[in-house]
Structure formats: structure tokens, C-alpha cells
């Protein structure tokens, strides 16, 4: 009986699944379309094995589990199609099918073990229950069912089976039970794959890998791809520049799910709800109303239409369904492909809480681009609705009026260096080696100390450098992350026009945000420069023997905080550590360092939108520092410095790499007075 039933079951499940898949593709194609190049599907296997699995493998146990389950399933399915579907009952194939089912079964057991909820091993909070919990059982059903129905092919007849089972059941009953288990498995694995069950991740994920909007991420030979894969397990390029927005487009940014590019909708649909993004998100950890995993699921709800009632993971903190809220569960947020996302589906605070630190993107095994989506939605809020959070809007107004977010006189950008006689590039028509880009830190008293240290180092190294002075404008980083692409593009065009008038070999800056924007994002507007972060440049000076430092007087333990825009955005993890090594201090790493560094809370305009939470992100980062026992935390970004110095004392010292090096220089440059200037600065301005 089973022999006649099996092919019917398998093909029916395949057909049903395929029908669902077609519908699913239609859902994705509601987005803004680019032509669908089916050939790209051929890229999928390599991208899966090379790139995706690489990220999964950061969690070894899970990687093995997934290899067993997914590999077992794919093999078992292919073999079952031949053996049971087309009826080629070859014992060798049958044996292989048994083996594959067995492997999958073992994998499925591991999946279940991970999801047990016992007092000693509570259910991991990052995972989802509901259909995902069901999937763990369905995997067992499928693998076990497939194993048992395939036994006869290698010689175990139903009679033998009956001999195993209590005879009272009888062969017929057993067959029915077996068929039911198998139907369950097939429904989940094949039908569910097309119709939006948890197995959708395999189907959507494959398409997502093939049609990913940032193909450079998979390109090992990309010029940006990091050659050394030491601290950085990234393979392709860190494709991290935001996509430029066409300011003449009909809608600016994303108002409704259908405004996303279709590849983005496809990407959201690939989410496996593994919660890795949730566990690394600084905003989530601080209890701000943002859970990147829930946000992606919200996008799926919007794309497919309906409410979030069926979501069974952790919600956005402070909102219905959030862990710390007494409110009833989900179901209060609704959406549809042509309905506005904010506020029915996602509340604006959720979007403004993001620091654009990219920890989620870095960690996501499905290579989903959370930050792109968040910035797209912010663009609509800022450009169309004019509802940027108050301080953000003020910063944008200042950028428009004065070219810096503080609303200060741009001509005072060099006041801190009044006594340093820094050469202006305007006086060097023949060109210089290094153009020192100051960034908006030049208005901040704390950062002025860093800049003075950097100037001292450059002089000690005999570097031929100059500055733009009052001709320098804000890079546009904050405006862009707050969604004001118009102001960003205006600043970018003006800066590019300014830079085109002068000659220099490269730009050096102490600000990772300027570094990222000038180096990676101006290219789209015609500005191609060699840009170096000061940590890289100082490391080069050490390498070239151009500066030397005295050994530290007393032993000191230092830890280093990776700025997001230097590390995750641009892959520079090594140079700052090289500099610290050259200084001869003891370096201890925080648990979250390198590509897993935790954001200081200052990126993406989050310091301006200042969404309230349970804790402050910089406080949490300082806790990470304290745990190492370090007495000094080395930083490499004015924003990180400001955020970490905002933590109440007593706390470890916060010193920029440039300050540490300048302190230890043995041949200090002549004529660099140590006293701080009394230049007007942000701190002295009335609020």
C-alpha cells in the first residue's frame, strides 16, 4: 500500500510546494523591480558553502547541526525522489537514503536538544517558538518516517517490521501511522517551504543568496576584500556604503513595504529567526524599543499582509510583546504591502534607536541587510514627513546653514590650532602628501586634544601635511544616517568640489565616520580618494621607522575599543593593535572585540535621537572594559571618546591612540606647546 501511496504523496507535496513558491515569488516581486536574472541561481551553491556557511560556522555546534540536518535532508529528498518517487528501488540507493535519513535524524535530535527548556538549560531567548518549535519535531518526523519507509528497499520487509512492532498493531495500522508521520514531514518540509512555513528559509535563502543586492560581499577577489583573514572572518568585500538615493524619484525612501527593492523583500523573507542579530544589538541590550530580528519579521508581515500575532520570538523592548512589558502579546501591529509602515507596523522610535553599528548584519547567517532597511525607512520619515527626532532635525538645520552640526562658525574649525601654525593647503599649490581631514571633532574641546596629539605625531614623523581649514565641511555622515540624503548629497558635492581644487596624495583623518564616508561613499558622487584612518597611518609611520617611542614608564593594561565605522564597516582591526603593540603596553581584549565589538552608542545619529532605554549603551560598553581589568581604554574615534567619557567616574581612562602615541614619542616635534588653547568650542557655546 505504501508503495503506491508514496509517489503520490511526494509528487503532491512537491506540486503544492511549488504552487506556494510561485505565490511567494510574487510577494517578493511586489517590491521595486529589477529584471530577474535566473542565471544568478547558479551562484547559490558556492555562496552558500563559502560565505553563508562561514558565518554559521562561528557557532561550531550549530554549524554541525545544520550540516547534518540540511545536508541529510537535501540528500534524503533527492534520493527519495528517485527511489520512492520514480520507483527505482535500487538497494544501494536505498542504503544511501537510509544513511541520509539517519544523518538528518541525528541533526534533528541536536536541533531539539538546543530547544529544550529545562531549569539548567533554559530555552535560548534569541530563538523563536511557535512554528519553529514545531519544525524541530517535524524534522524528526520526516527523517524517521523516511528511514522507516525505506527499510524494505534494503531487505527489511513490512513483515520484519511487524515482527519488531507489537503484533497487536498489525501491519495495516502500522502502515497508516507511518504514512501519517511521513505526511506530516512532507507537509512541513516541502509544502511549508513554499507556503511560508519555517522551511521557507531554505527556499527564500537560496534565492536571496543568488539575488543579493550587494554581490561584492561574496567576491573574494574584490579589491576591498581583506587579504588577511585573521581577526576578520569576512570573506568578500565589506560592502558597507549606503546606496545613493535618487532625489528626483517619486517617493523618497521607503514608506510601505512595496517601496523596498524586491531583493530586500526577498532578503527579509529568508530570515531563520535565529536571533543572532538580537543578541548582538546594542540597542536591544539597552532595552531600547528595537529588536532587529523582530524588525525583519515586521517587514515580512508587511510584505505578506496581516498582523504580527503569529510571531513567537522576543519583541521590541517597551512595546507589546516586548520582554519587559506587561502588555498582552503580539497582534497590535499590522501591515500590508501598500500600507504605510510607520507607525502601524513599526513605531518610529524603533527605527531611531538603531546606531547603524552593523553588528546585526555582521552576525546574520542569512546575510540580511538590516541597516539598509532602517536607513531607507528613516529617509522617508525625514525627507517626506519631516519627523526627524528634534535634536537630529536641529543638527540637520545647522548643517544646512553652517556646514557643521553644532551650528558653529565654520571659520572657527581651526581655532584650536591657532598656535600650531598648521599649513593650509591653499598655500601649497604644488600639493602635499597628506591632507589632514579634521572632522567635526575640531569643534569639540576633548577631540581637540586628540587632534593636537595627531599633529605632534605627524610633525615627529616628518610628514608633509596640510589642512583645508574653514573650507572643510562636515562629511555628511550624520545627515545621511538620519535619512537626510538631500543634505548629505549637497555636502558631498561641495566637499568633492573643494577637494578637486587641491593636490594631495591621500587623506588622513582621526574620525572613522569621515574616513568611511570619504573613502567609501563619496565614490558614488565622483570623489575617489585614498583615505587612511590615523591608526593605519600611525602604524605605517612605525613600520617605516619614522617615529619611535619610549617604553612605558610603568606597566599598564590597555584594552582597545573597535569603532564600528573603522572595524565592521572598513575591516581595519589590525592597525590599531599594531600601534598598541609598538607602544609596548599590555593589551587585553574585551570579550566583544574585533568584528564583534559592541557599539559605543554614538553612531547613526543615535546620540541625537537619544531613544530612552533601560540602560545606556556606553555604560554597557564601559562594563565590558571594566571586566578586562584594564586601566585605560584606547579609542580611535571622537564619537566613541565622547560617549565613553560620558560614563560617570570612577572609570578607566579614555585615551585616543594618537594621545597614547604622542605621550610616548621620544623625539617630540619642536614648538608644539602642550597647553590647551582657549579657542571657542562646542562646550563653551550656550546650548
Amino acid at each position: 500500500m505504501l508503495q503506491t501511496l508514496l509517489p503520490i504523496l511526494i509528487f503532491a507535496a512537491l506540486a503544492l510546494g511549488a504552487a506556494g513558491a510561485v505565490r511567494r515569488i510574487r510577494l517578493w516581486r511586489q517590491g521595486q523591480r529589477t529584471p530577474m536574472v535566473w542565471r544568478r541561481l547558479l551562484l547559490m551553491p558556492r555562496r552558500y558553502l563559502n560565505d553563508l556557511h562561514h558565518i554559521v560556522a562561528r557557532d561550531k555546534a550549530m554549524a554541525h547541526t545544520h550540516v547534518a540536518t540540511a545536508g541529510g535532508f537535501v540528500a534524503a529528498m533527492a534520493l527519495a525522489l528517485v527511489v520512492h518517487g520514480f520507483g527505482w528501488r535500487n538497494p544501494i540507493l536505498g542504503g544511501l537514503l537510509l544513511a541520509a535519513s539517519a544523518v538528518m535524524f541525528v541533526g534533528a535530535l541536536a536541533v531539539n536538544r538546543r530547544r529544550l527548556n529545562s531549569p539548567t538549560r533554559p530555552f535560548p531567548r534569541k530563538l523563536s517558538r511557535g512554528p519553529w518549535q514545531r519544525l524541530s519535531k517535524s524534522l524528526i518526523a520526516y527523517s524517521l518516517g523516511m528511514f522507516l519507509v525505506s527499510l524494505p528497499i534494503v531487505g527489511f520487509t513490512p513483515g520484519n517490521l511487524v515482527g519488531v512492532a507489537p503484533t497487536v498493531l498489525g501491519g495495516g495500522v502500522l502502515a497508516i501511522v507511518l504514512a501519517a508521520v511521513l505526511v506530516w514531514g512532507l507537509l512541513e518540509m516541502l509544502v511549508g517551504m513554499g507556503w511560508g512555513g519555517p522551511m521557507k528559509h531554505a527556499f527564500a535563502g537560496s534565492f536571496h543568496l543568488a539575488f543579493h543586492r550587494r554581490p561584492e560581499r561574496f567576491d573574494d577577489n574584490h579589491p576591498d576584500a581583506s587579504p588577511k583573514k585573521t581577526h576578520d572572518v569576512h570573506r568578500g568585500s565589506r560592502s558597507t556604503a549606503l546606496f545613493p538615493l535618487d532625489l528626483t524619484a517619486k517617493t523618497l525612501g521607503v514608506e510601505k513595504p512595496a517601496d523596498f527593492q524586491w531583493e530586500q523583500l526577498l532578503g527579509f523573507d529568508a530570515c531563520v529567526q535565529c536571533g543572532r542579530c538580537q543578541s548582538v544589538c546594542p540597542a536591544y541590550a539597552a532595552g531600547q524599543p528595537l529588536n532587529p530580528k523582530k524588525l525583519i519579521q515586521d517587514m515580512v508581515v508587511g510584505m505578506a499582509g496581516g498582523s504580527d500575532a503569529r510571531y513567537a520570538g522576543s519583541g521590541h523592548p517597551q512595546q507589546a510583546g516586548g520582554i519587559d512589558v506587561g502588555k498582552p502579546g503580539f497582534g497590535h501591529h499590522r501591515g500590508g504591502p501598500s500600507d504605510a509602515i510607520v507607525p502601524q507596523l513599526v513605531e518610529a522610535q524603533t527605527l531611531w534607536a538603531c546606531t547603524t553599528c552593523r553588528a546585526c548584519v555582521e552576525e546574520c547567517p542569512m546575510m540580511i541587510e538590516h541597516v539598509d532597511a532602517i536607513v531607507d525607512m528613516r529617509r522617508f520619515i525625514t525627507l517626506e514627513r519631516g519627523e526627524t527626532p528634534e535634536k537630529g532635525a536641529a543638527a540637520i538645520d545647522n548643517l544646512i546653514a553652517t556646514d557643521n552640526p553644532g551650528g558653529l562658525d565654520n571659520a572657527s574649525r581651526l581655532d584650536w590650532a591657532a598656535d600650531l601654525e598648521i599649513p593650509r593647503i591653499q598655500d601649497r599649490p604644488e600639493g602635499v602628501d597628506v591632507l589632514l581631514w579634521l572632522g567635526d571633532g575640531a569643534f569639540d574641546m576633548r577631540n581637540q586634544r586628540t587632534l593636537r596629539s595627531l599633529v605632534k605625531i605627524l610633525r615627529a614623523g616628518g610628514v608633509d601635511f596640510a589642512v583645508l581649514g574653514e573650507e572643510e565641511r562636515d562629511s555628511g555622515d550624520v545627515a545621511r544616517r538620519l535619512g537626510d540624503e538631500a543634505t548629505f548629497q549637497r555636502l558631498a558635492e561641495r566637499n568633492i568640489a573643494t577637494l578637486s581644487r587641491y593636490r594631495f596624495a591621500r587623506i588622513v583623518t582621526a574620525d572613522p565616520h569621515s574616513f568611511h564616508v570619504l573613502g567609501r561613499e563619496y565614490g558614488a558622487f565622483g570623489g575617489d580618494y585614498v583615505v587612511r584612518h590615523h591608526s593605519t597611518f600611525i602604524a605605517e609611520l612605525f613600520d617605516g621607522g619614522r617615529i619611535s617611542v619610549a617604553a612605558p614608564a610603568q606597566a599598564e593594561t590597555v584594552t582597545y575599543h573597535d569603532p564600528c565605522y573603522l572595524g565592521r564597516y572598513n575591516g581595519e582591526f589590525a592597525a590599531p593593535r599594531q600601534v598598541l603593540a609598538a607602544l609596548g603596553v599590555d593589551v587585553v581584549e574585551m570579550e566583544r572585540s574585533g568584528y564583534r565589538s559592541r557599539c559605543c552608542g554614538g553612531g547613526g545619529g543615535a546620540a541625537l535621537s537619544d531613544v530612552p532605554g533601560r540602560a545606556r549603551i556606553p555604560d554597557m560598553r564601559m562594563e565590558d572594559v571594566r571586566t578586562t581589568g584594564a586601566t585605560t581604554v584606547a579609542v580611535a574615534c571622537p564619537q566613541c571618546t565622547a560617549m565613553l567619557e560620558g560614563v560617570v567616574e570612577p572609570r578607566p581612562r579614555i585615551l585616543d591612540l594618537a594621545e597614547l602615541v604622542a605621550e610616548a614619542l621620544v623625539e617630540p616635534a619642536p614648538a608644539v606647546p602642550e597647553t590647551s588653547t582657549s579657542s571657542p568650542s562646542r562646550e563653551e557655546e550656550p546650548a
Binding site: 525625514t382 517626506e384 519631516g386 540637520i396 553652517t402
Partner: protein
């Protein structure tokens, strides 16, 4: 302020001018004019239209006017704002043009800032307009409390946070104080959608075209004048605060109420004579 509950709203216009950023000197929304637009949007929503008299060839002016149009968001409909640009050159007089335009378009309520941030910045435009049109004018307005087809109730800002409620017959002109509600953000999308309509067909007497008074003036850059320091000797924090917060308010005076207009005029003339503003024989 909940003026939206007013059922009928009179045809309302906000007159705007090009502002000047105090630090960079760049053109942009003028702070008080932007508040006038905000007040208008809160009152009549997308029905508000804007007006400006200026040089249509001036690109930075266009950009600045767009910034006002960028405030047309968060309203019931997404049509985008409209601004009428009454074409004139820098030598021309804005007042007759604005007056002719307001009359011709049947406007009954005009909102504007108290004084421009550049140009003459005399603060006189509102008064001259009201005089020419024969309208009422209220200056230093902090909020509109109520508005219907015949009258408008406003709160006028007085020194030290005091407010005075005024009920004014329409049509009238309201000059908005800097303590009014802060203007909403100017957004790029609505600014892009907003339309600037050029008005060139105003019927004007030819002698009214040119600003005659201006021709004879001598122009020189303004200098910041030294401020007289108010030294408050009191050791009492409250007094020092009051002294610091006080706008120069007259220390003596009377509030006269319930007078007929004849009596009120007599009192005023008597006061002006006493202050020697009017010569004893003047009428």
C-alpha cells in the same frame, strides 16, 4: 492651542521673507516668519497659502522660499504648499504689491513675523499694510486661541512671560512673536512638491511701484551697538532673575479700560503732551 476645532476658517495667508542665519549669514527661513507659517498650518492646515514679494531671478531666494514650502507636511492632504511670488526688483516697494494682492485674493487673515532679518528690517511692513488696507493689526502674538469667520482670539506676548488675550475683528494682520510655537522641520519632499506661482499682473498705480523713500537713503553696514549693562545690586536671586528676564517694561503707567474711543483718544493725546511728544498746540 487647539484652533483646529474652529469650524469655519477665513482665507489665510502667511507672508514670509528671506532670513539670515546669525552665524553664517546664509539665507534660510526667518525665525519669526517660520513661526507664522507654523501658526497658519496649525490653524487652517493645507489651506494656508504663502506670499512673498521679491526678485524671481534670485536663486538663493527661491531655495529659501522652498524651505517654507517644506513645512507642508503632517496635514490632512498631501497636495503640497503654494506660494505666490509677487515679482519685483530690489528698488521696488513691497507694500503696495502685497496690499493689492491681498485685496484681490480675498484674504481675511494675514500672519507674518514682526520684522525681517535682512534688508531694511524696519518692522514697518505689517503696519503699512494694515494702514493701507484699513485692517486691524496685532503684534507680538504668541498663539491663536480661536478663530471663526468674523473674529480671531489671540494671546499677545508681554514681558516676563505675561500674556494678554485680544479679540480682533477680521480682516486683520497678525505679527507673530518669537515665543510662538517652534516651526516644524522643513522637509525635502514637500519642498520639492510645493509650487511657487509668479504673480506679475497686479494692477498698481505707477507711482506706487518704486520705493521712493529708499532712493534717498544712504546705506552702510549695521554695527552692533554697545548695550547698556543693567547692574543689579540685589543679593536676592529672585530679584536678579526678574531683572535679567525683564524686557524693558515701563515702570509706571495706567491700564485704562471701558472708555469710549473719544475718551481714549483724549487720554492718549494728554499723555503724549505730557511726554512732550506733541507740542502743546498740536492737534
Amino acid at each position: 492651542m487647539s484652533p483646529r476645532e474652529s469650524t469655519v476658517s477665513p482665507k489665510t495667508v502667511a507672508l514670509v521673507s528671506s532670513g539670515r542665519h546669525p552665524v553664517s549669514g546664509r539665507a534660510g527661513r526667518a525665525r519669526e516668519d517660520a513661526r507664522a507659517v507654523e501658526m497658519g498650518l496649525a490653524l487652517v492646515g493645507a489651506e494656508l497659502s504663502l506670499g512673498h514679494a521679491g526678485d524671481p531671478q534670485d536663486a538663493s531666494l527661491q531655495a529659501c522660499l522652498k524651505e517654507y514650502l517644506g513645512m507642508f507636511h503632517g496635514l490632512d492632504d498631501d497636495r503640497g504648499g503654494r506660494l505666490s511670488l509677487l515679482a519685483m526688483s530690489a528698488e521696488d516697494d513691497a507694500v503696495p504689491r502685497l496690499a493689492a494682492w491681498l485685496e484681490q485674493s480675498g484674504v481675511r487673515l494675514v500672519l507674518t513675523g514682526q520684522r525681517a532679518e535682512c534688508g531694511e528690517g524696519s518692522g514697518m511692513v505689517g503696519y503699512l499694510l494694515a494702514e493701507r488696507l484699513g485692517w486691524s493689526i496685532a503684534t507680538g502674538v504668541a498663539a491663536i486661541e480661536h478663530c471663526d469667520d468674523h473674529s480671531v482670539t489671540v494671546l499677545q506676548a508681554l514681558p516676563q512671560g505675561q500674556r494678554r488675550r485680544l479679540e480682533i475683528r477680521l480682516p486683520c494682520l497678525i505679527a507673530v512673536d518669537s515665543v510662538a510655537d517652534a516651526p516644524r522641520q522643513s522637509a525635502f519632499g514637500p519642498a520639492r512638491r510645493g509650487r511657487i506661482e509668479l504673480v506679475t499682473d497686479l494692477a498698481l498705480a505707477s507711482e506706487a511701484r518704486v520705493d521712493a523713500a529708499r532712493r534717498d537713503w544712504q546705506w552702510e553696514p549695521a554695527r552692533a551697538r554697545p548695550k547698556r549693562l543693567k547692574v543689579v545690586k540685589s543679593t536676592n536671586a529672585r530679584d536678579r532673575f526678574r531683572a535679567a528676564a525683564a524686557k524693558s517694561s515701563a515702570s509706571n503707567g495706567q491700564v485704562l479700560t471701558d472708555l469710549t474711543s473719544e475718551e481714549a483718544a483724549d487720554k492718549l493725546i494728554a499723555y503724549l503732551r505730557a511726554e512732550k511728544v506733541l507740542a502743546p498746540g498740536d492737534q
